[in-house]
Amino acid sequence: MSTQNRPTSGAPHSASTNSAAPGGTAAASKTGTADVVRIPRPAGGPGRGGPFAGMNVPAEKAMNFGPSAKRLLGTLRPERAWLLLVLVMGVASVTLSVIGPRLLGEGTNLIFAGVVSKQLPAGVSKAELIAQLRAAGENQKADMLTPMALTPGQRIDFAALSNVLMWALVLYVLASAFMWVQAYVLNGVVQRTVFGLREEIEAKIHRLPLRYFDSIQRGELLSRVTNDVDNISQSLQQSISQAVTSVLTVVGVLVMMFILSPTLALIALVTIPLTLGITALIAKRSQKLFVAQWKHTGELNGQIEETYTGHALVKVFGRQREVEERFRQKNVELYDASFGAQFISGLIMPAMTFIGNLVYVGIAVVGGLQCSWATCRRSSSTRGSSPCRWRSWGPWPTCCSPGWRPRSAYSRCWTSRRSLLSLLVLVLILGGAGWCLRTSRSLTRRTSR
C-alpha cells in the first residue's frame, strides 16, 4: 500500500514546491504579524522546503488551488481503475435517474390524455371525431386533439400507465442500486487514499529535520496532520461523488430536455453558466473564510492548550488578564470568520432552489409563448395584415382569422405543450431530488462529525 503510494506522491511534492513559493511567503508574512514571532520555516533544510511546501500555513491552499488539486489527483492515481468504476456507476445511476422523471412525465401525459378522451363521445375513431369537429366548425378543438393519443370515450389507458410506471419503478430501483455501488466503491478508494496519506505523513515526520519541529507551534502541526487529513477525507468523498453526480445530472437532464424540446432546453442551458457562476462566486468567498476559520481555530486551540498546560505559571506570573485578553481577541476573530463561512456556504442551497424555480417558470412561460407565437407568425405571414395580439393566447390567438389555420403550426404548438408537461414534471422532480440529495449529504456530513 505504502510502497505503491510513495513514488506517485513524490512527484507532486516536488512539483508543488515552486508554485507554492509565492503563497508561502505571503502566508509567512501573515503569521509574522502575530504577536508571537515564529521563524517561517527553515529555508535550506533537506528537500529545500519541499516537504513543508504542502504542509504550510493553510492560507496557501486558497492561493494555490490548482496545484493542490493536481496533487490530490496524483495521490488518487493508484485507484484509477476503481475511480473508473465509480464513474461508470455514476453514469448508469444518473442516466436512470434522469429517465425516471421522464417516464413519470409520460405517465402524467397518459393521464392527461385520458382526461381529455373521457369527455369525448365514445364509439368514434379519433380521425372521425376530428373530421366531425371540423365539419361543425370547431376547428380549435380539432387542432387541439390532433396530436394527442386519443381513443374517444376511453378512460385513462391504465394498461399503458401501469406499463410506464412499472418501468419507472425498475429504473429507480436500479438507479438506487448503482448509486449504492458507486458510493461503496468510492468509500473504499477514499479510505485507502487517506490511509496512504497518513502513512506518508508518519514517514515524513521521521525524515524531517529537528529544526522544523522547533520552528512551529505543536498544536498547529498537529492540526495539519490530523484535522487537515480528516478534511481531505471528507471532501474527497464528497467532491468526487458530487462532481460525478452533478456534472452527469446536468448533462443527462439537458439531453433529455433536448429530446423533448430543443427550444426549451436552451432555457435550461442558459441557467448553467448562471449556476456555475453563483457556485463559483460563493465557493470562492466561502473558501477564504473557511481557511480563515481553520487558521483561527488552530491558533485558538494552541492558545487554549498552552494556557491550560501552563495554568499555574500563568497565574503566579500574573499573566491571567493578558492571556484572557488575547483569548478574547482570537475568539472574536474566530467568531467573525466562522460566522462568515457558515453564512456564505448557507447561501448555496437557496440559490440553487431559486435557479430551479426559475427554470420551471421559464419553461412554462416560454413554452406557452413559443406555441402561440409560432401560430401567429404563420398566420400573419400568410394573411399579411392581421393585427397580431400574440400575447393573448386566449384559448386561441385572436390575430388569426377563424377560417384558416395551418395545422402544422398548431401541431407544433401542441407537441410542445405535451412535452411542456413532461418537462415541467422533469424539472420539478429533479429539482426536488437534487435538493433532497444535497440536504441529506450535508446532514450526514454534520451528523458524522
Binding site: R38, L110, H206, I304, W396, R446
Partner: protein
Amino acid sequence: MLWKLLVEYLRPHRQLLIAVVIFQLAQSIASLYLPTLNADIIDEGVAKGDTDVILSLGALMLGITLLQIVCAVIAVYFGAKAAMGVGRDLRGAIFTRVGEFSEQEVTKFGAPSLITRSTNDVQQVQQLVLMAATMMVAAPMLAIGGVIMAVRQDVQLSWLIAVAVPVLMIGVGLIITRMVPLFRKMQKRIDTVNRVLREQLTGIRVVRAFVREDIETARFAQANEDVTDTALRAGRLMALAFPVVMLVLNVSSVAVIWFGSFRIEDGSMQVGTLIAFLSYLMQILMSVMMATFMAVMIPRAAVSADRIGEVLNTESSVRPPLHPVSSAVSSDGHRRGQLEMRDVGFAYPGADQPVLSGLSFTARAGQTTAIIGSTGAGKTTLVNLMPRLFDATTGSVRMDGVDVRELHPDLLWGHIGLVPQRPYLFTGTVRSNLQYGKPDATEDELWSALEIAQARDFVEEMEGGLDAPISQGGTNVSGGQRQRLAIARALVKRPELYIFDDSFSSLDTGTDARLRQALKRSTAGATLVIIAQRVSSIVDADQILVLDDGRIVGRGTHRGLLETSETYREIVSSQLAAEETV
C-alpha cells in the same frame, strides 16, 4: 444539561432567534405555497393554453420564490450569527472558568480533557444550534404545513403519506442508529491516531535519540489500520443512506401517480393537483428526514453539553478574598517575603488520608529553606499551597503575617517567583519567556538572570540569541536548558519569595553547584524555598525540613539532621549508595 445550557447561552441572542423563527416561518409558508402555484400553472395555464395566466402565475411564482430565498438567507444569517455567538460565548465562559480554577480542579479534570471540552465539545453544541436554526426550525413547519396542504389537495390520497413517512423514518433511522456508534468508534480511533502523532511530535528528540522510529511507525500503522477499518465500515453504511432515501422518494412518486390516476379518472382530481400532491409529499419526506438526522445529533450534543456543564458548574476551591488586603505590611517587623505555615493540613475532597497534616514552619527572608522527602511525601502539594494554587484544608499559610486567603492575588503572586517541577515554556522566543513575569525587563536584566541561571552560554550560542524561537512547552531545548530558562524567568521577576520545586534535578552536579552559588549571591535578602530530592542541592540550606507521609519528621541543618533524623540519614545514605554505583 443541554437544554439548560442552550437556554442560558441563547438568551443573549434571543432577538436573533426570534428573527430566525419568523423568517423560517415565512420561508416555509412560501415554499408550501409554491407547489400550489406549480399546479395552477399546469391546470390553468398549460392545460388551457393561457399564456397570460402562465405569465402572471409565473411572475407570482418567481416573486414567491424570491421571497422564500430572501427569507431563507436572512434566517441563515441570523441563525449562523446566533450559533457562532453561542460557540464564542461558551468558549469564553469555559476559558474564564478554567482561569479561575485552582490547580486542584485542573488536576481533577486534566488539562487535555479541559482542552477537548473548550474546543470539540463547544463545536458540537455550536453545530447543533446552527443546524437547529437553519433546518430544525423549518422541519416541523414544513412537515405539518405539507400534510395540511397535501390533504387539502386530495384527502383520499393522503394514506400515501401515512405509509411513506414511517418507511422513510425506519429506513433512515436504521441506518443512522447503526452509523452513529461506528462514527463514535471512528472518532475514538482517530483520537488514537492523533495521540500517537502527538506523542511522536512531542518526543521527537527521544524517538530519534533512541532510534525508535521503526517501533513508532509500527504503532502508528496499527492505529492507522484500525481507523481505516472502522471508517470503511461506517462509510459503507453511509453509502447505503442516499440510495435508500432516493428509493423511498422515487417509489412514492410512482405510487402517487399510479393511485392519483384513479382519482383523476373519477374526476375528483386534476393533473396539476396530482403534481402538487407529489411536491408536498416530497417536502414532508424531506422534513422527516431532517428531523431524523437532528434526532441523532441531539444525544451527541447532549453528551458534549454535559461535559461543558461539568466545567462551568465546578467552583474553584480557591476563591479570591472578598475584602483583600492589598498591601502586606508585616506585623512583626520582619522583612517582606517571609512565609509561614501554621498547623497546615491538606486533603483532597473525598480522600480518607490527608496529603499533608500538622505542618508548621517559617521560611525566613534571607534564608534558604529546603524541603526534602521521598516521592509521594507531599512536597508538590506543599509547593502549591504557597502561591495559593491550592487552599489548605486546615491551618493557614501566611505571607508576611497575612493569611494568603486574605491577600489580593496580584499582590501575593507579585511576591512569588515559581520554578515548577516540570519547567514549562511558552511558544515564542527566549526573550518573551524571560519577560513573562516582568514584561518591561531590560536586556541587561535578562542577561544577568541568564548568567545566574547558568544559561548565558547556551542562549548566546542559540541562533538569534534572546530572540531564538521556543516551541510550545519548550520542547526544542533540552530538559536541563529548559530548567535553567525557567529559573532565569523567575529571577527576572525579582520576587521576595522564590520557590524551586525540584528545579535542579536535570542539571549535572557541577552546574547545580555553580547555580546555587550565584543564586545565593543575587537573591540575598529574599526567601528561598527549595524542594529537592538530591541531598547535594540542599546541604548548605539554613533550614531543612524532612517530609514523610505528609508530616515534618525532622528539621534542622544538614549536620544536625544527620544526627537527629533517621529518615534523613536513610535518604542521604541511599543517595550516596546510588552515586557510588553510578
